[in-house]
Symmetry: C2
Subunit: 356 residues, 2 copies
DNA sequence: TTGAAAGCGCTAACAC
DNA sequence: GTGTTAGCGCTTTCAA
């Protein structure tokens, strides 16, 4: 059975096909009576515009692609939510493209999006380097999210400022030996957070000891390295993790080791995903405003679609420090010898069952 | 500047437009030499098919809408990932539609998807009742995910079996007074989990005490009600939560109250989201296989698109019990038969292989 | 204001 | 095998 088209509506309403189109788009004034008849016809026929056909002509699909490493990561999920909402407010729908952390897959998605003639692409890239974007005339604008690309429109949290926030907080609490569980060194975000962190430490007369920095994929497993940073005389009294997922991994590991948070070791994360606030103790973290990120992205895309030319600079969103229970004053005497008190049984230890 | 089209390619390759189309789609054999010339022309011109135009003709958009309550929920995010991957393997791209738990918004998204002529819709509905689906001839198939709709193609975990799994586990551990933190009573999934739970309890000669059941929106806040179920002589020795997010809320609350898990109270969740395994102790839970859910959904959609007629029955995916550290034997004296040695519950220490 | 007609880029049916 | 042609459903000149 044929789908009902604008032509059917026109016939039913006794007007020309173009008039219906004008009515639908407000592209030309239509008299009240005509409008009413058109509306009636639409209702009777159950007509629904075909956006695909419209796009072919109007060269606007009102769709945009959101490409990200994986939606299973809570931070990206929150960004996705913010983006989807912000775009929807602007009349745009979102293609979810999960690259699974794989640049090849990311590329394939990007190609597909171009073939679909999306109006724009929001990209949180998977690899350390930005992908080669298949450009050409008529290619949609690409906005780099979270992981900026210099010289291209980008929106990201101010990673240096975020790192500095963490450092200032810990230094202010009297910590002198601070370990870092960082993502892969090639990731610019990680580097920047580290730079800001290190610089702020210097301002407090402290150095970031390279021996206390561990790099690795930004995942839970990295958190397990927390144990390595607490050994012997080099023991750190505080840990900064370049994201919350790593921090949660570290939190878990510390509890297993019987290390008390924050009495023995303070812990700071980055992102402020919901789970962080639920740990016991809740996680102190550097918050990225995902809602803001989504809004800025949608707003920027809107401007680009309106013909404004692409900014070659990155929009930085200021992060904020969220102080919760996982950080506290440095243990007394820890700064000198780095000795931790091992005698006191950790609080949470008692909650773990001992063997049968 | 005009976009390069199939016609440009044809001209460049010195063949007819239709031949290029045939080559692209394999809809008719094309001789080797011609094919090569076409390929060359495509490469030189940087041609890329316009999927929108193709869809207009072929009546297939190769896109499907995924509508869900919110991508910020880790369980839905995992489902989304599974669905996106499974669809992508089948050449379909996914529109992410976040209904924000709002049926009106869900409806708006559904309408938009129909206007886009998506090939299908995968719906995890937001409300307790299925939405009225704007049907009509040519409307795409809608598959109900996670929250089934009787008489319509649905894929969901077997909630009764899942509830029974939880009950059997707790009863086997000797628990006799078991509290339940359940989602809203009108949600069929919640009701079914409760039914299965209650029935399995009966099989063990136990009753579900209505006084020990709390209903509420399936969110963290509900977990806080955990405290209410532990008071005085009515004290529950175990808690079943109808999803992991609630269980995490309960876990948090119990720790605040100084209640030991599992020595004082055992805790069972539902879903098996990643975070559950990271708690200390890690959460025992009823696992839903999200990957499987996504695959089944994509496979079913594939069959429907191939012309098979929609099944009127629901596909149930068997959940599994994942025993971790949050459950243990009922405290001595809490059960009539006293402390008995149940199948030794796995213990965090040995399971997680720790040690500096 | 309204109507007629020309495509948007592609597929599919058919002729050669 | 290859070429021709008629639309898919809509927007958008351009005339009336």
């Amino acid at each position: 059975m044929r789908r009902t088209t604008i032509r059917d509506v026109a016939r039913r309403a006794g007007v020309a096909l173009g008039t219906v189109s004008h009515h639908l788009n407000g592209s030309a004034p239509v008299s009240g009576g005509t409008a009413a008849r058109i509306e009636a016809a639409i209702a009777e026929l159950g007509f629904r515009v075909d956006l695909g056909a419209r796009s072919l002509r109007s060269r606007r699909t009102h769709s945009v692609g959101l490409v990200l490493p994986t939606i299973a990561n809570p931070f990206f999920a929150e960004v996705a939510r913010a983006v989807e909402h912000a775009l929807w407010e602007r009349g745009l729908q979102t293609f979810l493209c999960d690259a699974d952390g794989d640049p090849a897959r990311e590329k394939a998605h990007l190609d597909a999006l171009l073939s679909r003639r999306v109006d724009g692409v929001l990209l949180i890239r998977s690899g350390p380097r930005p992908p080669r974007l298949p450009g050409g005339p008529g290619a949609p604008p690409v906005i780099h999210l979270d992981r900026a690309r210099s010289g291209a429109p980008s929106i990201t949290s101010d990673n240096r400022a975020g790192g500095a926030l963490a450092a200032g907080h810990l230094a202010g609490l009297g910590h002198r030996r601070i370990g870092v569980l960082a993502g892969e060194a090639e990731m610019p975000n990680v580097r920047q957070r580290l730079e800001g962190f290190s610089k702020a430490l210097s301002a407090h007369g402290l150095d970031l000891d390279p021996a206390l920095v561990r790099h690795g994929p930004q995942a839970l497993a990295l958190g397990r390295a927390a144990g390595d940073l607490l050994v012997r005389d080099r023991a750190a009294t505080a840990l900064f993790c370049t994201n919350d997922v790593v921090a949660i991994g570290a939190w878990r590991r510390l509890l297993e080791l019987g290390v008390r948070i924050p009495q023995d070791v303070s812990l700071v994360g980055y992102d402020d995903i919901e789970m962080g606030g639920l740990l016991v103790p809740p996680l102190t973290t550097v918050r990225q405003d995902t809602a803001r990120l989504g809004q800025e992205a949608a707003a920027l895309l809107g401007r680009l679609l309106a013909g404004e030319k692409a900014p070659r600079s990155t929009t930085h969103i200021a992060p904020t420090l969220v102080v919760r229970g996982s950080t506290g004053p440095a243990p007394a005497g820890a700064s000198r010898r780095g000795r931790r008190k091992a005698a006191a049984p950790p609080d949470v230890q008692s909650q773990e069952r001992s063997g049968p």
